[in-house]
């Protein structure tokens, strides 16, 4: 907590009682603040907070003072630090109240704003409070709207409603199973036909809600809670084997919801209510007293659990996920130290602990790789000791070919990890570091704070659970590119090797590029490519001219608006493999001027002429449309240095900054009336749709 460490309060003018008793000190400070003497109260609040770091009274007093003198950023940090230290229900409710008070003029948020609307069964205000505090912890300002009691239909169905007036970025729909499907839940005498009729009616109602929100809030992401099975059945123990029993009925409803969403509303996210409730313990999901007194569907203990499930969705939506896991070896991937114990004595696989725990951990890592997370190794070892384990040990799950980057040496890990990030062309904020050694973790945490260094438990029994509990690997839709990504990074390593050989021999770069046999396919967006295009827009940081983020809904709307927008993409293939859809351009089409709103390329394919080809393609499209000028924009960020100077190098003319945003500079070039005047780099094979 910065507030505790940065200021050593002067206590010389405190009363004797206040010096020994922080509670008395607090009272004195509160009295001074009420009397309007903030200058005298501030050091007292700080001194009290240093002794009582989880005291809301101290935090609250200091917040009022910071707020009054406009120190919003420090106030926000203080509030986040307080919740992290004391994550109780009442702390979270207090923090939420403060965030709400700031809504009109919020403190700066690192990750921007996410407007959340909540609607569904019962009173969801506490859920909103937990969500906005969880979002604040992730650097997002999250103003929240909560529907009035049970007003979900009234808020979602009409084209205009208080919910839509709020202009949410995220709409969460949490309807209890018993509200929409009462007989399904508790009627043991209903016929199969009656249950089917209730199911159809309820699912149709959900379909109407989703259709209405897609119409009235087309750019919002909808999160729909699935329907959970209660902890008891009206059929008793027979439920498990009863066709049309309670569990069977509810699973049938969820299966229909999955069908509905995939067929008609592919951009709706489903929150797996059943799994989240089961994880917490179904008997603790609802506090029955609060339910009967105030229709609160979720207990105080369950709220943080469901809020963290939301945060997974939010992080995926905002592109805050991580792409690569960097792994230590000894006592992380296997038990023991290979350099001392030898290949026959390390613990991996088999029936006995801890070898079986390490095997399961490796399996979980391999499954992450299967959904596109890159694996890398960073270990202090002799490579000659390590490789035989990966190549020959019969019980290893992970093998040499599963790792896209490897550092096995005696250098410090921070240096090695920074190198891995450079080699893979990803940011440090895309990395997760797993190491059993607290000293190594401490070093990396201190040297590379952007890397997520996980507090791995001492006992390997809990490694897998810790890994699975991380909320940083999620995506809202898994694209073909995600599934292939780990493979692609290995191909990239092979390309680099070829490049090094080619340039070492003094060969020219063009000859190397030609030898790659690159095929670039350029085309307008299609419904199939929109999810990947949106994904790339939201996670590309380096070669990204403007770093403007758009949701999948917004990209879909642009791609349908062919008169106003051009949404183009580029997929790249070479002799080593398929890099997939890796380049995107969004063009705002004026009558004369086409303005390139966004232009970005995955770093995997940068520097091979693909960026030139995509730009050439835009120019030839502009020619066909009869435009006279092409304008490109550049907005510098902390990360997009590789994109700086791109339009300059293309020979475009600077035309000043954009009115209203001096951070954005523009370049222009006249569009040639003859499309044949445009030539693509000679080493590329171009295919155009």
């Amino acid at each position: 907590m910065t507030t505790q460490t940065t200021i050593t309060p002067d206590i010389s003018n405190f009363t004797e009682e206040a010096r020994v008793d922080p509670s008395a000190l607090l009272k004195q400070a509160q009295g001074l603040l009420r009397a309007g003497d903030a200058a005298a109260a501030e050091p007292m609040f700080r001194a009290a907070l240093a002794q009582l770091p989880d005291s809301w009274a101290a935090v609250n007093g200091l917040l009022k003072i910071l707020d009054a003198r406009g120190a919003r950023a420090e106030a926000a940090d203080l509030l986040n630090a307080f919740v992290a230290l004391s994550p109780t229900h009442s702390s979270i409710m207090s923090a939420a109240r403060q965030w709400e008070a700031w809504d009109a003029d919020p403190p700066p948020a690192r990750r921007g704003t996410l407007r959340i609307a909540l609607t569904g069964t019962g009173t969801l205000n506490s859920l909103a409070s937990h969500l906005r505090v969880a979002c604040a912890g992730a650097g997002l300002h999250a103003p929240a709207y909560v529907s009035d009691f049970n007003q979900w239909a009234q808020d979602l169905l009409p084209p205009q409603s208080p919910l839509y007036d709020f202009q949410p970025d995220l709409i969460a729909i949490s309807i209890g199973t018993a509200e929409l499907f009462p007989r399904t839940v508790s009627d043991s005498e209903a016929t199969a036909e009656e249950i089917a009729a209730e199911r159809t009616a309820g699912v149709n109602q959900i379909a109407e809600l989703l259709a209405a929100s897609a119409r009235s809030a087309p750019s919002a992401t909808v999160v729909l809670h699935t329907f959970s099975v209660p902890d008891y059945s009206p059929f008793g123990i027979l439920d498990a084997k009863t066709i049309g029993g309670q569990r069977d009925r509810i699973q049938a409803i969820n299966a229909r919801i999955v069908e509905l969403v995939n067929e008609r509303f592919p951009r709706t996210a489903l929150l797996d209510q059943e799994r989240v409730e089961a994880r917490h313990g179904k008997d603790r999901v609802r506090d029955d007293r609060m339910w009967y007194m105030a229709s609160m569907p979720f207990s105080d203990t369950f709220l943080p659990v469901i809020a963290s499930e939301y945060l997974r969705i939010v992080k995926a939506l905002k592109g805050l996920g991580r792409k690569c896991v960097v792994l230590d070896l000894d006592n992380t991937l296997w038990g023991g130290v290979i350099g001392e114990d030898g290949i026959n004595n390390i613990k991996i696989g088999g029936q006995a602990a801890p070898g079986n725990a390490f095997r399961d951990f490796q399996r979980a890592l391999l499954a992450l790789r299967g959904r596109g997370i890159i694996l890398a190794v960073c270990s202090k070892n002799n490579p000659d000791d390590v490789w035989p384990v990966f190549e020959n040990h019969p019980d290893m799950v992970l093998r040499r070919e599963h790792f896209a980057a490897v550092r096995i040496n005696w250098s410090d890990k921070a240096t090695n990890i920074a190198e891995i990030a450079r080699e893979l062309n990803i940011g440090l904020d895309s990395l997760v570091f797993l190491d059993d050694n607290p000293a190594e973790r401490g070093l990396v945490r201190q040297q590379l704070p952007d890397v997520l260094t996980v507090e791995l438990p001492k006992d390997p029994a809990f490694y897998t659970r810790t890994l699975l509990g991380l909320d940083v690997f999620d995506v809202l839709s898994l694209t073909e590119e995600d599934r292939k990504r780990a493979q692609q990074y290995q191909e990239q390593a092979e390309r680099r090797q070829l490049e090094e050989t080619a340039t070492a021999k003094g060969g020219d770069v063009t000859a190397y590029l030609r030898s790659l046999e690159i095929v670039a396919a350029l085309s307008p967006a299609t419904p199939f490519t929109v999810p990947r295009i949106a994904q790339l827009i939201n996670k590309t940081n380096q070669f990204n001219m403007t770093t403007r983020r758009y949701t999948e809904q917004q990209v879909a709307a642009m791609s349908e608006d062919t008169a106003g927008w051009g949404v183009y993409s580029c997929t790249v293939l070479d002799r080593f493999g398929d890099s997939g859809l890796t380049g995107v351009a969004l063009v705002r089409k004026g009558v004369d001027v086409w303005e390139i709103d966004s232009f970005l390329l995955s770093c995997r394919v940068l520097g091979r002429g693909v960026e030139d080809a995509l730009l050439t393609y835009l120019l030839s499209e502009a020619t066909s449309a009869g435009a006279s000028t092409m304008r490109g924009l550049f907005a510098p960020t902390a990360k997009n240095a590789p994109a700086a100077g791109f339009y300059d190098k293309q020979g475009w003319t600077p035309s000043g900054v954009i009115a209203g945003d001096e951070n954005v500079s523009a370049w222009e070039i006249a569009v040639n009336s003859d499309a044949n005047a445009y030539a693509y780099p000679e080493w590329l094979t171009i295919s155009r749709a």
């Binding site: 509160q30 207090s94 609160m296």
Partner: protein
């Protein structure tokens, strides 16, 4: 009756939950005298009291609390 320590603790909880200073809370403080004591905050307050003192209140007890004095008496009964 609450001990002085528990009285302080309880007032701190009320203060935190209802967004006021502990000094402002009197036995006669009620939802009518304190605008932030809404029916929603009332239940948050009950949860916070349960959490802090490690006790479980019934629905009847929760709805029976109409003032700070009632709350102190209810907590006092549980602590014995």
């Amino acid at each position: 009756m609450l001990t002085i320590d528990n009285e302080t603790k309880l007032k701190d909880i009320v203060a935190e939950t209802l967004g006021v200073d502990a000094d402002e809370i009197e036995d006669t403080t009620t939802p009518a005298t304190l605008p932030s004591w809404t029916s929603f905050n009332h239940l948050t307050l009950m949860s916070a009291v349960e959490e802090a003192f490690g006790l479980t209140l019934s629905m009847e007890e929760m709805t029976g609390v109409k003032s700070y004095a009632d709350l102190a008496a209810t907590v006092g009964r549980h602590l014995g």
